[in-house]
């Protein structure tokens, strides 16, 4: 019993430390005093400022467009990649492809960003929307692969045999059996790619040019220019949006898991 109380205290402490800075920032977004100290009174001034800032709203839209487009395209490539890896004939090729995939996930964003910048200047792609989109697609693909692959490996190979046996062509097998089976993985991959793209700073910072910016880069440059509590307001809004995404993901996931739960109970 004592042990349990200790464990609970530890857990609570960890979460307080993790969430305290965010809540600190959120609370001061309502400060009428205009600084990150001396809470003078409650105001929605800073939120008003955010919503009146057209430049900021354009940037938010840019960020969303980049995130949705890049994650959608990355999902398509990622699923194809995962299928290729899962169907690789020899174990060695499979492991090699998987390792190459994982290296991209663990390698520092700064290096990926820098190498993209060098690539774009070399082949003459203008920095801006396209360059950011391509980079986001590129770093999202390995994430999608990693989310889809376990689902593919979970799928019994006799399912494909059964479909073939029942008269399905290769195309039927893919659209009627494989894709529906791995759809939870595809969805998870898409959402992961979406969040990675939304909050990416390092890569975007390298490959974004004049006149085009995403939210994280914009917040960074504003924070450097001086403290304005509108940044706090904006951050709070983004945080709430992320929470909604997470909750949405949770519900989608639960829906796809539920049939199993019922089966177990019987």
């Amino acid at each position: 019993m004592k042990k349990k109380i200790g464990a609970n205290i530890y857990l609570i402490a960890v979460f307080i430390i993790l969430y305290a800075p965010i809540f600190y920032l959120m609370i001061y977004s309502f400060n009428s005093g205009g600084a990150m100290h001396d809470f003078k009174g409650f105001t929605l001034e800073w939120y008003k400022e955010v919503f009146h800032d057209t430049r900021l709203i354009v940037i938010v839209l840019n960020t969303l467009v980049i995130a949705l487009l890049s994650s959608a395209i990355a999902t398509i490539f990622g699923v194809l990649g995962a299928l290729a890896i899962a169907n690789a004939r020899s174990r060695r090729t499979k492991n090699m492809l998987l390792t190459l995939n994982n290296v991209l996930i663990v390698s520092p964003d700064v290096i990926i960003g820098a190498s993209f910048l060098i690539l774009y200047t070399l082949i003459g792609i203008k920095l801006g929307f396209t360059s950011v989109l391509i980079s986001h697609i590129a770093f999202s693909i390995p994430i999608v692969v990693l989310m889809v692959l376990p689902k593919l490996q979970e799928m019994s190979p006799t399912l494909i045999d059964a479909a073939r046996d029942l008269g399905a062509t290769r195309r039927d097998v893919l659209t009627r059996v494989v894709l529906p089976f791995i759809s939870p993985g595809i969805l998870a991959g898409f959402f992961m790619a979406l969040t990675y793209s939304l909050d990416d700073f390092a890569v975007t910072f390298f490959v974004t040019g004049n006149g085009f910016s995403t939210l994280s880069v914009e917040i960074y440059s504003r924070a450097r220019q001086g403290i304005s509590l509108s940044i706090n307001a904006l951050s709070t809004l983004i945080f709430l949006f992320t929470i909604i995404l997470v909750i949405g993901y949770y519900f989608i996931n639960r829906k796809s898991v539920r049939p199993n739960g019922v089966g177990m109970r019987q």
Partner: protein, 369 residues
């Protein structure tokens, strides 16, 4: 006439992966229309490979496979008139019962109304009416089994392949399903090819059994043929319990083992040829020590429900397994009696062809008498 009867023909088929020893080694056989076949053997004997070759899920390394007289070596699975019930059922977890059964018809782009009628009929056939909208995960093992069968037969295959479909069920359900499968085959009138490692299942259900070991067919025949006249030690051992003792064929109808000469019904051997003798445990009868043909000492005894399984040793140290409804006392000396018909003599290293020929020859002789 014979060619029309055979629906599937294997001609010297070999299947080999890489440099490993072949899974299937130069196998030839014919499958007739409308019969219940069982491929029986231990795991790794090649029985599932035969099934996959028939289904078109794998191609032979050497040899030819004919279906209805046409060469089908390279015909893919989805173009064959064959359906399979898989060992793990392989039901699609993302589809409900109705859609699982309808799968084969949907990929054939059949009309909705026709699909509906056929699916309902197939589900009625396997006693699953009213389960249409159930999720696969909500079905029990036996029900999944029926869905898998319905999904296969709804396509009206000419041959239904069953890959150890009963191995995941408990004993009672398994026995029930044996009756049902046999009944289903009679009602459908199509060929069933059933794969199993369970000899009781094979004996209970089949018209014809192929016993396989190490990629070769050891023996084929009706259940009684195979049980009563196993061709070699492997078959005798694999099908049922048996006492296998080395012996010597003195001449026709006389065999020597345990230092004694016994009357038997086998013939067609060379004089004094070394052979192996098979006597089934249920053919041995316990008697007074002096009245039996053999004297043995009871070593141990197990109660098996239907009978006692009694393990005895004779003076030479040979083990004798006896199935008896009567109890024996451990350590006691008893006599064993058996009829001449109970003795089955096996020639060492005899092939299936030679065995059949010998059997044929002396059947003629006995008819002539």
């Amino acid at each position: 006439m014979l060619a029309e009867q055979a629906i599937i023909r294997f001609e010297n088929v070999t299947k080999q992966y890489d440099e490993d020893p072949p899974v299937l080694d130069d196998v030839s056989f014919e499958i007739e229309r409308g019969k219940f076949y069982t491929l029986l053997g231990p795991s790794g004997c090649g029985k599932t490979t035969i099934l996959r070759l028939i289904a078109g899920l794998t191609e032979p390394t050497k040899g030819n496979i004919y279906f209805n007289g046409k060469l089908v070596n390279h015909v893919p699975a989805n173009e064959r008139q064959v359906n399979t019930v898989f060992q793990d059922y392989a039901l699609f977890p993302h589809l409900d019962v109705y859609e699982n059964v309808a799968f084969g018809l949907r990929v054939k782009k059949m009309k909705k109304a026709d699909i509906d009628a056929k699916v309902k009929e197939a589900l009625r056939f396997v006693n699953l009416e009213g389960y249409e909208s159930r999720k696969i995960q909500e079905m029990s093992g036996g029900q999944k089994q029926r869905v898998a069968i319905a999904r296969a037969i709804v396509n009206e295959p000419e041959v239904l392949l069953l890959d150890e479909p009963l191995s995941a069920l408990d004993l009672k359900l398994r026995t029930e399903m044996q009756y049902e499968l046999r009944e289903l085959q009679r009602r459908l009138g199509i060929t069933f090819i059933f794969v199993t490692h369970d000899q009781e299942e094979a004996l209970a259900m089949s018209d014809e059994i192929f016993v396989l070991n190490k990629g070769k067919i050891q023996q084929r025949g009706t259940p009684t043929d195979i049980y009563d006249e196993p061709i070699n030690r492997f078959v005798a051992d694999f099908i049922g319990e048996s006492n296998i003792i080395p012996g010597k064929m003195i001449k026709d109808f006389l065999v020597e083992f345990n230092g004694k000469v016994f009357e038997c019904v086998d013939q067609g051997f060379h004089p004094n040829e070394p052979v192996e003798i098979v006597i089934r445990p249920e053919d041995l009868e316990i008697t007074e020590p002096d009245k039996g043909k053999l004297r043995v000492r009871v070593d141990s005894q197990l109660f098996r429900g239907v009978h006692y399984e009694i393990c005895c040793y004779d003076e030479d140290g040979n083990e004798w397994l006896v199935h008896s409804t009567k109890k024996a006392a451990v350590g006691e000396e008893i006599g064993l009696h058996f009829d001449p018909e109970a003795i089955h003599v096996m020639r060492l290293g005899e092939t299936e062809e030679e065995f059949d020929k010998r059997l044929e020859s002396y059947r003629e002789v006995s008819h002539a008498k």
